[in-house]
Amino acid sequence: MSTVRANQPVVPKLRYRLEKRKESGVLSSLLSILVALVCSFGITYWVITLIGADATTVLWAIVKGSFGTKNAVIDTLIKSTPIFITGLATVVAYRAKVWNIGQEGQLYAGALGVTGVVLLLKDAGLPAWVFIPTLLIVAVLSGALAGAIPGVLKSRYNVNEIIVTVMLNYIVLYLTTYLLGGPWQEVGSHYYNTIRFPDTTNLPLLFGTRLHSGFVIALLLAVLIYYLLWHMKVGYEIRATGSNPTAARFKGIDTRRIILVVMLLSGAISGLAGGLELLGVHHRLVYGFSVSFGFTGILIALLGRLHPLGVAPAAIFFGALHNGSSAMIIHSNVPRELITAIMGFVIIMLLFWEVVFKYRIRRVEDVQ
């Protein structure tokens, strides 16, 4: 039956087909990010022109403001540090498909823990090399504690972690507001802030600039988490739990324990972000010190494709946009909100091109 048409003339005909790639390589992944960035650049350009400003000037101001000078670069790195770390916190949780939305609250919890201990020990005269590590441990533990609540509820009683973490964000935030408006408020201050922390709590600065060592800690943490997920047994179990909890359970992985471990880790990392931000930048707890660092971390983790080494550039990019916005409003009358819009464009474009790049066009010769 297959030979029925054998006698007919063979007319090759070219066709194009869209087909899904079986596996997408690193190169196509990078290319999709590049295309997305170019597209969002184009959209941004158009929007600025629409506002009536000179797009070239505005964009140049952002670039110069974020990378133009040594100080600008330093500021960009400082701004990217907390979101880098909350991004890493997100990666750990989401790899196990535990949807932690509570990075913001856990970050605040870390900051609260640090502040509490500083206020308690400020007159103890501890040297920096004792004080700073102690405070960082406190930040990690406080964050872990905030992560433990949804972690225990999820692993023991299967309570939806999204709801618990979102609600906890509010609880921790209002607790902070209460403390800053009452018991912890600096005497005589009209603002919601504590006293300035003693100098022995200041994180060491790098290269004689304002850049604090938190950035280096973030880099080390990224490598550590990469190692954890792909080279440690617990990381293997985390990924197994995320990909197929049933098979993981059948083969002896305690998925409930993994859920708890992951929430503790994610909370601890977010808490560390809060502590580092206080000790490296603000040197006091002040209302609104976090510009949605927790939520931005989620976006960064998704943009970094849930890979610790993808989170690094994503965080620096967002840090640059944040930093560049200050220069932008000085040099033009474009509102600061444009930066948020740009972030939106970038995310939409990245997600869009990620999907597009999962396909490829193939020219096929249709033998007939």
């Binding site: 297959s2 029925v4 047994k233 617990v234 197994a240 993981a248 059948f250 002896g252 193939r362 007939q368």
Partner: protein
């Protein structure tokens, strides 16, 4: 149907004047990377015929079906349906044109009932759902085709056989002219297979054409009019069923003479390795799954546990591997009590010498987006051979994976290939390689040949028989009586959570077992 259906019109015009041919596939090629799944495949299906696609595992049957159904896009080639060239961009288009498909792995929404599953995605229901009216329509279909099904039960509580009715009803409800059935009998009891074939015959009478994908020769002989044999992605031949025999088809299928008997060397039956005593357990919904079940598996024997699925086998399997709690009873694994708090977890049980092959490979046995090597050590990752302290020892794991791939003839691009890209038989080999990579005392296997072709099936059996030589015992849970009778020494039948009887395989026939499976007979077992 006359044979002149094979005469094509000349020129480029589609064979539209061939009213007898409902489907013509010409030179269809489909590749996945370097793998050629379908290589210039041509065949045609006559109106009102049952056309079998017969082929080994990985011969490209399912891929071909998916191309016809629009779930996959061919790289090259043409498909004519009802005389018209078609290029479906999705199954939706195919369904609209009148092509339905029942997949090997069912695609049903578990918590919803049959009616909801059948009507989902149908525009004919309009904006508002009239479930009552739809249910009536479906009931009428059930009567027309002699299907007895509780339409209000969530499909997750239906047996696999019943879930298949739901899939078939779904196609009938939409109104198909051509129905593709991918390995439909893999999970059915003999009685269920008979009713399936009765349904197919009714469909044929109603003018529906059927493509049956299978590797079971007796089914081809039983029901089909024509059969197309595929091997390694190529069409070997299309032949009428009449005038052929199982042996002649088998030769076309595997490319050589094939021996269907399992060579079972005499192994001495030793002491008990698995003793289940008075086991009672409940399902998640609180109903009794197992009632006072007692079973004994000895060294060197295969105990087949026959039963229609949904009669407690899944729960028994889960208790044995340690992921479900029992209400009462004892289980001893080589003399060690495993239902105790300290021992009743998957890791401890596995360490005591229990290997397991679950029924649903991709759900319970493997992690689809993990690599072959990552899957090969799932559950073994704590062992010193594959780890260094808290870290994984990827070098050792890769070496182990390389050996396993060679030893078990796993067809894969390498240890780093995603397991989800492997075929069913190779998935099973990955599981087997993992489970027997260390000395075991008991193997619990659930439908180990489900969806596998002859070659892979006999491969699994031969591996099982090797295990017996090492002094292990095997408990094989299955609803496929071919499987049960192929290698069992003794056969126990489970119905409604109770053991209805235990028999010596040599002293009992299939019909008797079928009656016990249906709960019609029971006797005191030893």
């Amino acid at each position: 149907m006359t044979d002149n259906g094979m005469v094509f019109s000349s020129g480029d015009a589609p064979p539209s004047d061939e009213a007898q041919l409902i489907l013509v596939v010409e030179h269809l090629t489909k590749t996945f990377g370097s793998l050629v799944a379908n290589d210039q495949v041509s065949f045609s299906v006559k109106q009102g015929h049952v056309h079998c696609l017969l082929g080994e595992n990985g011969a490209g049957k399912s891929t071909l079906a998916k191309c016809i159904y629009g779930a996959s896009k061919p790289d090259a080639g043409r498909i004519y349906f009802k005389g018209q060239e078609v290029a479906f961009s999705s199954p939706r288009d195919a369904i609209r044109m009148g092509i339905g498909m029942v997949h090997q792995h069912f695609v049903l929404a578990d918590p919803m009932n049959a009616v909801e599953n059948i009507i989902v995605g149908e525009e004919s229901t309009g904006r508002l759902l009239n479930l009552k009216a739809e249910k009536k329509k479906i009931q009428a279909l059930c009567e027309q085709y002699g299907i007895s099904l509780d339409l209000d039960t969530p499909v997750v509580q239906l047996s696999v056989g019943q879930q298949q009715w739901v899939e078939i009803l779904k196609a009938l409800y939409v109104g198909v002219d051509l129905l593709l059935l991918d390995e439909p009998t893999a999970v059915l009891t003999p009685q269920e297979v008979e009713s399936l074939f009765a349904i197919i015959e009714k469909m044929i009478k109603d003018g529906i054409s059927v493509i049956l994908i299978t590797h079971k020769l007796h089914e081809v002989m039983n029901i089909s009019d024509e059969v197309t044999i595929l091997r390694k992605g190529k069409v070997i031949d299309t032949v009428p069923t009449q005038g052929n025999t199982k042996a002649s088809l088998a030769r076309l299928l595997v490319g050589r003479d094939f021996d269907f008997t399992v060579h079972k060397e005499k192994v001495d039956i030793g002491s008990p390795v698995l003793e289940v005593e008075d086991l009672t357990a409940r399902r998640d919904n609180g109903s009794l799954a197992l009632q006072n079940v007692s079973l004994t598996v000895h060294q060197g024997e295969v105990l087949g546990l026959a039963g229609v699925s949904g009669n407690g086998q899944a729960e028994l399997f889960e208790i044995l591997v340690g992921v479900r709690k029992a209400e009462k009873g004892n289980i001893a694994l080589a003399g060690v009590e495993i239902l105790k708090e300290a021992t009743h977890n998957p890791e401890t049980i596995a360490n005591l010498g229990m290997a397991s092959v679950p029924q649903d490979r991709l759900r319970q046995g493997l992690i689809e987006d993990f690599t072959v090597q990552e899957n090969l050590i799932l559950g073994l990752h704590h062992e010193n051979s594959y780890s260094k302290g808290v870290s994984m020892n990827w070098k050792a794991i890769k070496a182990f994976a390389g050996r396993a791939i060679q030893q078990f003839e796993i067809k894969t691009a390498g240890p780093q290939q995603m397991v989800g890209q492997l075929s069913g038989g190779n998935l099973q080999k990955v599981i087997l390689a993992r489970e027997v990579s260390r000395p075991i005392k008991v193997m619990v296997a659930s439908s180990p040949s489900r969806g596998l072709d002859i070659g892979a099936t006999y491969y699994v059996y031969s591996r099982f028989l090797e295990l017996l030589q090492t002094g292990a015992g095997i408990l094989m849970i299955s609803e496929d009586l071919d499987e049960i009778f192929n290698i069992s020494d003794r056969i126990a039948v489970i119905y409604n959570g109770r053991i209805m009887g235990v028999f010596n395989a040599s002293e009992v026939d299939r019909e008797t077992i079928g009656l016990y499976m249906a709960g019609l007979e029971e006797h005191e077992h030893s």
